[in-house]
Symmetry: C2
Subunit: 226 residues, 2 copies
């Protein structure tokens, strides 16, 4: 192969590598299309560091009434390569909502892209379906010791100050055990996603991006040998 052809091959390869990296980054960071509701649910949950939790109040005078509160959450370290989809929480029974849960562990968790720059950047109102949000219904359960290791990694990687919270609050790791999921990310009403569908997908189109990279690498090699 002549020097010119080799040089041309190297330049083409470099250009393709840049383009593929850009494609990869765009794919792993991109919001899923609305027809992929399960992936959207995983994407939004993974994008959020906190959520609003609804419980049934156990407080005197308010028994059985809905009660909304704010909790930090995490399904895994931030970034496009983490995230199990399981919303972990770090709780103490000094919290009113946790006292509610001790009487009735049923709860609902909601997370929204309004919590991220996405909606503001696209000028979507928080109540606009395009500012996607997810509603989970289920219950809060304490995790066992082996799952506590995962929960700790998920939570402390996003919420490092948790490690210094007062030890006498008897913090424990918990998770939201999901039974129902609704996705509002497009016009036409809420979409229902089953927990099975939710846990079987990945939030990011990484595999799609990887196969693109492989395909472009083949093109580069072809160009090199031309």
């Amino acid at each position: 192969m002549s020097e010119c052809a080799a040089e041309r091959g190297r330049m083409a390869g470099l250009l393709l590598l840049c383009a593929a990296s850009a494609l990869l980054l765009a794919a792993v960071g991109a919001i899923p299309p609305p027809e992929e509701a399960a992936r959207m649910a995983r994407f939004v949950l993974h994008s959020c560091d906190w959520g609003a939790l609804a419980t049934l109040s156990a407080q005197e005078g308010l028994r059985g009434r809905p009660f909304a509160n704010i909790f930090s959450i995490s399904d895994g370290p931030p970034g496009p390569f983490g995230g199990s989809g399981v919303p972990y929480l770090y709780l103490t029974d000094m919290e009113i909502s946790v006292q509610d849960l001790e009487v009735n562990s049923n709860a609902s968790l909601t997370v929204s892209l309004a919590q991220t720059p996405y909606c503001r950047r696209h000028r979507y109102d928080p109540q606009n379906p395009l500012c996607a949000h997810i509603i989970f219904v289920g219950s809060i359960v304490k995790v066992n010791d082996s799952e506590a290791v995962l929960a700790k990694k998920a939570l402390f990687s996003r919420h490092p100050e948790m490690e210094s919270w007062p030890k006498d609050h008897d913090w424990f790791f918990a998770k939201f055990n999901i039974t129902n999921i609704w996705v509002l990310d497009y016009f036409g009403g809420l979409k229902i996603v089953t927990p099975e569908e939710y846990y079987s997908v990945k939030p990011y189109g990484l595999l799609d991006a990887v196969s693109e990279v492989i395909r472009w690498e083949k093109i580069r090699v072809m160009l090199m040998w031309k």
Copy 2:
């Protein structure tokens, strides 16, 4: 009065005006101190364009269970001079939560400074009390025609796209009728604020800042005549 004294007076006046303006701006934008829980509740509510609403589910298979959802809210046009403290909402009975409310209008609304740049800027975790959040318990009620004028101004000033939402959704103006308020803005647990306290305060220290400006203006005049 000599020219020098007059010049000195004008310079002093200009400096005082700048300082007073800075003080005014700082006061009207500043978060209230944690010992002023009612003002904090007003401040956080006014700072938020949306909130999480908990209702009792009326859905088949989930009756009576808590259900959390996201709604745009407004207590008045944004900025330090607006805000009645009343959370107005723009609703349609096509929304699942609104169908819940038709069966049981009891609800809980929560808003957090985690929805604003404040907590990120101060590196407060969303579950850190210093990342203040407010919990309201009460009910959702449709507003009457005269209050709808206020609700419309409050909502459309912050959520201009609402005006173009589909007319066939039969949107209506509603408000959160507050019966209980909890403020978590400092260590030591939730603070209780009554609706009377909540509605009797202003979220911003404007009066304090205005009286400072007046005091400094008096000083300027004194300097001028020295």
